[in-house]
């Protein structure tokens, strides 16, 4: 996640680095023409960013100060939506807390599994390609409604997981219908999809220079010490990248919660996630202004969390910038 403009550093990919002596400036003869061409190439994105991203963002901010049901004109209500949300809507807080708990459980566990799997596969030799594809498969299928339905059935009263637990004497009576456990079912579905960050960890591991391990070994570093002093620091940029992306995605989880809870966030609002409640307020109850206010709070929270992650990264992410 580097936020500099392109060309300010060399490509990250090995083997395609520009030779040091290669000319970096283009002929200025065609500069004017190229400048015009650039805007032509950029025009779809510019139009999209202006019309479908920035304007809706501002419109959403405006709507958050209104009461709007799609049919009558928006009515300005000032901060009412926000005040109501924060002080008089226990379901709002429930959805916020649920989402936060889910993010805090699912993201670290998913990344831990991804890292462990990547480390294992990195030293497994034969069969690596097979394992990589197999571990990755849930990441592709898991976002679908089909798999969420399977999950609901497996963790339901009388489902396979329930039966398995009963056979060892733990009688749960199903997970998805118990307020204390339903959230965990959704989290497990996310953790199950550790293949996507795993592949990125694997790519990161391949970039770690072997000499570092040799040097550490010569210095008498044991396996654990090598992991702590070589692998983890070298992998920290990739870990950071995964952490930021997974966290942002986790805040927006919708389909599994919708499906596992039968669309209502039950039982007892235990899987009422933020986006599920936003959908409920906006598109079921037709409180578009309220939903817009919720969306803006989500935007701000994700912004703050991302900023905090970036700030914390200064102390633990190690960039091995050679160029």
């Amino acid at each position: 996640m580097n936020v500099e403009a392109p060309d300010q550093r060399l490509s990250e990919k090995p083997g395609v680095e520009r030779p040091a002596g290669a000319p970096k400036t283009e002929g200025t003869r065609r500069k004017g023409k190229r400048e015009g061409a650039a805007w032509v190439f950029l025009s779809p994105w510019l139009l999209g960013a202006a019309v479908l991203t920035l304007t809706p963002m501002l419109a959403s901010l405006y709507l958050s100060f209104t009461e709007y049901d799609l049919f009558t004109a928006p009515k300005w209500v000032g901060l009412d939506n926000y005040v109501h949300m924060f002080t008089q809507d226990p379901r709002y807080w429930r959805s916020a807390v649920n989402t936060l708990v889910y993010v805090l459980v699912a993201v670290p566990l998913q990344l831990a599994f991804a890292l462990a799997a990547a480390l294992a596969l990195n030293s497994i030799g034969r069969g690596k390609g097979f394992y990589r594809s197999a571990f990755y498969a849930p990441s592709l299928l898991g976002a679908s409604m089909s798999i969420a339905l399977v999950w609901r059935a497996l963790f339901n009263d009388g489902g396979t997981v329930d039966d398995l637990l009963s056979s060892i004497g733990v009688n749960m009576g199903g997970w998805v219908n118990q307020p204390g456990w339903a959230l965990l079912v959704v989290a497990l579905l996310t953790i199950w999809q550790f293949g996507a960050p795993m592949v990125i960890f694997l790519a990161g591991l391949q970039q770690v220079p072997g000499e570092l391990y040799e040097a550490a070994e010569v210095d008498g570093a044991g396996r654990l010490r090598r992991f702590r002093s070589v692998t983890l620091p070298m992998l920290s940029p990739v870990l950071f990248f995964n952490l930021v992306l997974q966290t942002i995605q986790a805040f927006q989880v919708f389909t599994p919660a919708f499906t596992v809870s039968g669309g209502r966030g039950g039982p007892a609002d235990s899987t009422l996630f933020y986006t599920l409640y936003l959908y409920d307020r906006g598109f079921t109850a037709s409180h578009m202004g309220y939903a817009a206010a919720m969306a803006w709070v989500l935007l701000v929270v994700i912004g703050i969390v991302t900023a905090l992650l970036f700030r914390s990264s200064r102390s633990w992410v190690f960039y091995n910038d050679k160029g």
Partner: protein, 288 residues
């Protein structure tokens, strides 16, 4: 890099590596169980779906698939899949075209405001879709486009999936600059250079974009739920959901048969392209 010594020196079996294989296989068994369960259940007769603890059906029941093929609310499965295909293929075309155009400008051309605009593009990757969802919905509603495929396809032609712009920029940065320079010397303008040289060389990035766009659009539920409400316009995902709502537990078998049908295109896509997929992802950091 762990436990490689045994095999190199050739002294006895490499227990560390064998242990890793055993561990990986065990994890894999647990992980793939839900998928096996899904396929097995879709072939189970009704009385075995709930009551039986056996994973495999005692006899193969094809009736589930016959029921599933009838579709939902009088709309056949073929129609539902057709709708999903129209949306997914449209999204793929839109993303590949618009994202590669923008990426070329960011990666290879110089223009004022390039830095700030690039930062803006990166920032939109982090933007939750809900922050723009409601005004977008209102606009499409006013244009009379709700309950059509347009709201699901049109934004893709305007490079709104900034992630793929970023991915393609990363890839295009790796293409040697000398190629553009040679093309310029040969009299190619930016457009010829783009279509003749950069675009063909960017194929891995374009394929990655295409695969992920297809799979994400096919699997998407939220936007389809919001924008489509007539059964004739339903995608297979939406139909699956209304199937669940309208049928009782006795229709478990057909429901999972339909789930398998809904997943089939993704599995086929995955099998056909997984080589590109894993490569493209590893080089650019796309998530599934």
């Amino acid at each position: 890099m762990v436990a490689v010594r045994g095999s190199i020196t050739g002294r006895g079996p490499d227990w560390g590596r064998i242990g890793l294989h055993v561990g990986c296989l065990a994890v894999l068994l647990v992980m793939l169980y839900p998928l096996v369960w899904l396929v097995a259940t879709s072939f189970k007769p009704a009385d075995e779906v709930i009551s039986s603890l056996q994973l495999l059906p005692s006899r193969i029941e094809l009736g589930n698939y016959a029921t599933a093929l009838e579709g939902v609310g009088g709309v056949s499965v073929l129609r539902l899949i057709g709708n999903s295909l129209i949306i997914s293929v449209g999204a793929v075309l839109g993303n590949v075209l618009s994202c590669s155009l923008a990426a070329y400008a960011f990666a290879r051309l110089r223009f004022t405001l390039r830095g700030p605009l690039f930062a803006l593009m990166l920032a939109t990757i982090m933007l939750p879709q809900h922050a723009i969802l409601i005004p977008q919905y209102i606009v499409f509603n006013q244009l009379g486009l709700v309950n059509t495929f347009w709201p699901l396809v049109l934004p893709k032609f305007l490079a709104t999936d900034a992630f793929f712009v970023f991915l393609t920029v990363q890839f295009m940065r790796g293409i040697p600059k000398e190629l553009d320079e040679a093309a310029t010397l040969d009299g190619c303008g930016p457009f010829r250079t783009f279509f003749r040289i950069i675009l063909p060389l960017s194929r891995p990035a374009l394929i990655t974009t295409a695969i992920f766009t297809f799979i994400w659009t096919w699997n998407d539920f939220f936007l389809q739920l919001i924008y489509l409400f007539e059964p004739e316009k339903f995608t297979i995902t939406l139909a699956l959901r209304s199937f669940v709502d309208t049928s009782s537990q006795s229709a478990y078998g057909p429901m999972f048969a339909m789930s398998v049908i809904a997943l089939l295109p993704i599995v086929l896509f995955f099998m056909a392209f997984q080589r590109f997929l894993v490569q493209g992802m590893a080089s650019s950091g796309v998530k599934g």
